[in-house]
Amino acid sequence: MTELAENPLLVGLGPRRTPEPCVLVVFGASGDLTRRKIFPALYSLACRHLLPERFAVVGVARSDWSDDEFRERMEHAVREFGRDDFKQEVWDWLAEGTRYLSTDFADESGENRLGALLNELDEERGTRGNRVYYLAVPPQAMETVVTALGKRRSTQGWTRLIVEKPFGHDLESARRLTQRISRHFAEEEVFRIDHYLGKETVQNMLALRFANGIFEPIWNRQFIDHIQITVAESLGIEGRAGYYEEAGAIRDIFQNHLLQLVALTAMEPPIDFTADSVRNEKVKVLKAMHTPGPKHVVRGQYGPGYIEGKPVPGYREEEGVAPGSMTDTYVAAKLFVDNWRWADTPFYVRTGKRLPRRETTIGIQFKRAPHPPFEESATEELRPNLLLVHVQPDEGVSLAIGAKVPGQGMKIRTVHMDFMYGGAFRTELPEAYERLLLDAMLGDQTLFTRSDEVEEQWALVDAIVAAWKRDQPAFPNYAAGTWGPAAADDLVHRDGRNWLRP
């Protein structure tokens, strides 16, 4: 972006961030992610003129499609999943630079054909050898593609590699993948995507904490009783048995999204908002988390139940799932961050499938007022102050405070002060993938996970999973449509607390 600094005419022309010319190459282009997220996000960016003028997309997959067939499918995807109204001229612009290459990438000829196509696009579209490779491929294909790309990386322009989760299956495989990637790509070129970090409300957590003078002084063990983070899904595994049987809730959500939310909640203020400053602070939190003992982790698996009044099968009855599967679809844990700010302050976290509703919240439960000068009966309906950050679906923040009930006498009840995103800013929130794709094209790694973060996350998960090998819980242990196993309630009840009702 050197032009920005040199061109005096661009000063003051808004916070428009347009990347340099480039080609985006999507591996796994016939998959669901490309259809549901990547192309709709590209289309939204194109609608807002945020893509470079000289831009091209190449879809790479095994399916035997032509360029036109791929474009047609992606047009349908944009019409179905895009958040913007379909505008033919915007689509035509995007489609004009869209190509498709059918190859399984295990043979040399596929690599050669891709190289030739990219060179052709550089000539035709003026993309200057700049490449963004998006690896939306299964873990087993990751190493093959990375090695092939590394060997033939462009000698002109810059290269960026977007890697979709899972980043390995455990610490060892994550390290192996990192080593394989680092043979050919520098860490500054690698963008490990965790789409949660692209959500506006997750970024708003940083704004809430570090742009408001009132919160930071009380954001510590002295004033906060405990923190609860819930990532609840009402969906089941949606035909992804092959992946989910291997991953379970602990690898699917806990290892990445949930631990990232803990890190953002607990991190120290970074000195600035550059990628490394933010990620350095997150890593410190992950390093400071001590491994919870078996009593502090609860796993569960859903049985048959009801979602929105409709009967749904149990996990073991889902297509492709082994009848005696011991895969976890629910995890709750009590975590501690052993540092000056958070010592002895529990972080209760939980995630699960087939819970009553889709909801992601971070609850900061403050300590009770030390000596309320009211009669006990006046405050019986009063709960301690609670700051709730709604990550999805009702994006916003609410603060529970005590207020006097109008009328005679002194009766105090808990009421909520709400900030809803849609109430203050009537603009639609961008999809996480829009922000992240654009950031990757701009080379901004702030919202991407660094290899040491990933390794710290896996170290914690490996320790939890190792303990699980020693016992076999009686699965299923919660009915679909409920808030998880009874043992998860016990986890917080033992400490005299309750789960917040999301």
Partner: protein, 288 residues
């Protein structure tokens, strides 16, 4: 979207405040739980008679994007003293949520001498702690009490100098030293400024700018280019209703494709808060 309305003649401000409270409550009965009140700004507009229609059209396209408390002042100094009011609550659904956001619109017709002291009428109606954006329709008579009083109240002063008969000379009167100022005519030049910026560095030694368009936009564009390049630039302007063509030293600049609507333009101004040194330098250069 649903709406609740109340209106009255010869009213007191207490009547307006009570109507706002009551309408908000009534509006909430139609939804689950109370409507959320705006929490972003008070949007004040001074709308002389000849601008009524245009102002209402712009506001109609704006309400949902900026659910502020809007206070529209219609001065009518020739009429008998008094205030007539119309209060509306527009409740817009929050997408994917079970609640509404309430935008409040207060229209006040300031009759007779009431039009001379608008600040005393508006001050009790401002939402506490929130910034005040003042949109002035037409050419403000700087130095006159109404302008001076409302300038003291606002955090951002928004005009459209295309509505001024004496642009660009009148830019010299803009109160840059008192409040953040912005001009919708300046915002209209943005796509052209981007197009011109794309010509860098070839444009660095430009000597002449030819613009087919309104005087306000043409002079702001020339003021901008000259002040950014730190050189004297000759402007040749041919009148037109909107910028139709721009050429630098005889070379035609490729026209931008997007033409924002009046609501889009005001909406963009309401998204800005601080001063714009680039705009201020451009307006000052244009006035010279």
């Amino acid at each position: 979207m649903h709406a609740e309305e109340w209106s009255g003649e010869d009213v007191a401000l207490d009547d307006v405040e009570r109507a706002l409270g009551r309408l908000r409550e009534e509006s909430a009965h139609e939804t689950e739980g109370p409507d959320l009140r705006t929490s972003v700004m008070t949007h004040l507009a001074w709308v002389p008679a000849e601008w009524h229609e245009a102002a209402m059209e712009t506001l109609a396209g704006l309400g949902e994007r900026h659910p502020s408390r809007g206070i529209l002042l219609f001065p009518d100094p020739a009429a008998a003293d008094g205030i007539d009011a119309k209060v509306s609550i527009l409740a817009f659904p929050l997408s994917a949520q079970r609640r509404h956001i309430a935008a409040e619109v207060v229209e006040l017709r300031l009759r007779g001498d009431r039009a001379k002291a608008p600040a005393s009428i508006v001050t009790p109606l401002l939402v506490s702690g929130l910034p005040v954006f003042l949109r002035w329709r037409g050419r403000p008579a700087f130095g006159e009490p109404a302008v001076e009083q409302l300038l003291d109240l606002c955090d951002r002063f928004i005009v459209d100098s295309r509505e001024w008969p004496d642009a660009p000379q009148a830019y010299a009167e803009l109160p840059f030293d008192r409040t953040a100022c912005s001009d919708i005519a300046w915002r209209r030049t943005e796509p052209w400024r981007l197009a011109l910026a794309a010509l860098w560095p070839g444009i660095a030694d430009a000597r002449e700018l030819r613009v087919t368009g309104p005087a306000a936009e043409a002079s702001l564009l020339a003021g901008w280019l000259g002040s950014r390049l730190e050189r004297d630039l000759e402007l040749a302007q041919e009148p037109a209703d909107r910028i139709e063509a721009v050429a630098v030293d005889g070379e035609t600049v490729e026209a931008p494709t997007e033409i924002p609507s009046a609501s889009d333009l005001l909406s963009a101004e309401l998204d800005e808060f601080g001063r714009s040194p680039v705009y201020e330098a451009s307006a000052q250069a244009a006035a010279r």
